[in-house]
Amino acid sequence: MQIKQWVILCLSFFSFVLFGLNETFAPTSIPLEYPTDWPEPTYDFSKNPLTEEGVFLGRKLFYEPLLSKNNMVSCSSCHLSFTAFTHVDHALSHGINDSIGNRNSLALINLAWSEHFMWDGAAHHLDVQALSPISDPKELGEDFNVVIQKLQKTSLYPSLFYQAFGDSILTGEYLLKALSQFQLTFVSANSKYDKVMRKEEGVSFTTQEEKGYQVFKKNCSSCHIEPLFTNGGFENNGLAKDSILNDLGRFSITQNPEDLLRFKVPTLRNIKYSFPYMHDGRFRKLSQVINHYSNDVIPSSTLSPLLTEGLNLSHEEKVDLLAFLLTLSDKKFVFNQNFTYPKN
């Protein structure tokens, strides 16, 4: 018995060496770079380690219109890198054939720290999030298996999949893992706020920004927790329900009445770029957002308890808060050349 096992082991080793001679699969690992004082990412990188090849494949896929039914729309259609990966100018994002969706696309920022995706948390893991927009008839509208068949037939993708995952036969697992890898690199940590916090030389808040930071800490920071500027959860922020969209938020996923009208708390990072605001894009300007929280909160049983009285900010406080929010803009992030359309 022991001799037999030895023979098997030797043969296995020999055959793997022979396979190795014939093919090259040697992905280059890359670390996720983020500030040392940030919390550990919640994404489990041990199950999908970042590699140059995986990130590159994900980037190709992110910009790939073959992911849509009419081969014209890609992830980037609603998530533009220059606007912090969201769809500006459209209150509700649109997909194939000018279909208008039900929600305003979320900005894609610091996803390695995110555990719920979509405004209602419909996706519970980054890896499986893309399944929803790919198959939603108002977004990319394509059957997931057809996407894989289309990509398999190209001259490009089988070799990119091989380089990233060691297999030129495409699978859903690899496609989704590659998309995750690219999106995990969307780390925004170079705004003026970050530089001030890191005490970088020559960078400081203006008096107005500093006053705005104090207004923020007093009124907003329990949900928009630093440094990610979100608590990762769901809240009812007192918006009037749109009678046509009739969007019930988190409730539609959990069926728990406590989740009625609760929506994902988005990060405030790069908020200058990611207009319009709220799940249905009802506010075009940040000043409208601040006015809502200050004076227009609508009471209901699931309203966030911190908003029951409204924030009642003075005009000066509103202007200061706005000045602070603009310090969360990260130009290095929105103009990062590693995030744009992959030319080769």
Binding site: K4, L11, S12, H124, D127, L131, K177
Partner: protein, 229 residues
């Protein structure tokens, strides 16, 4: 040429390996009133006809026990059973040598830990059509067909049972007593399931809910494990 040789060696290894291990096999046999279920064939329910067009489900986490002590858990044992794919109706598990057991436990469906682990491959690949994208998570059990008893437009029934979050966690753990043989048959008596439903109203269950949990329990009760004849 080198690749050919390597392939040959790998094949040889597999054959040798197969001979050296201790195989356990379960054959899955869905029945309707003791007759084998054949897709698109007609069966009788409450004096009406009933046709099954699709039957797919996950069996996972096969654990062998001696009394109540687990003696072996098959690694990565996630199996998508699909009646339209005969190959999927036999599950082989390599057991360690000289293992003795008198119970087998497994899950009908995918547990919450696996659901939480991100995307996976093989039978768990979302390509297999057993994954919800609108409320992400595995569909544990799919049964579709038609009967005039179903009071809807095309007289169809569609049961997509899934969901892993409390309070609507659908995964069912089943445990059966076994003899020590290496071959068993898993019977799923679907008529037991249908006879407890009111098809006039209970024909379409496709989201995690109290109803879906109740149906998952019902379908689990229609499973039995028998010693192979």
């Amino acid at each position: 040429m080198i690749k050919c040789f390597a392939n040959l060696l790998l094949l040889l290894n597999l054959v040798t390996w197969a001979q050296s291990s201790n195989h356990y096999q379960i054959n899955i046999n869905p029945l309707f009133d003791n007759s084998q279920v054949i897709l698109d064939s007609t069966y009788q329910l409450n004096d009406e006809t009933l046709t099954i067009t699709s039957l797919k489900f996950y069996l996972s986490n096969f654990t062998f026990l001696q009394e109540d002590t687990a003696v072996f858990t098959a690694p990565n044992s996630f199996h998508l059973i699909d009646l339209s794919t005969p190959k999927s109706l036999a599950i082989s598990i390599d057991l360690p040598d000289s293992i003795s057991f008198n119970k087998l436990s497994f899950n009908l469906g995918i547990d919450s830990l696996t659901n939480d682990s991100g995307v996976m491959g093989g039978d768990l690949d979302p390509m297999k059509g057993m994954y919800w994208s609108w409320n992400t998570g595995y569909i544990n059990f799919k049964l579709e067909g038609s009967s005039p008893l179903c009071n809807n437009r095309a007289n169809t029934f569609q049961y997509h049972l899934g969901g892993y979050l409390s309070p609507y966690c659908n995964v069912q753990q089943l445990t059966f007593l076994l003899d020590n043989s290496s071959n068993h048959t898993m019977i799923i008596e679907l008529s037991d399931f249908f006879k407890q439903l009111d098809l006039a109203s209970e024909h379409t269950i496709m989201s995690p809910s109290e109803k879906a949990v109740a149906l998952s329990k019902l379908i689990a009760e229609s499973f039995t494990l028998k010693n192979a004849d």
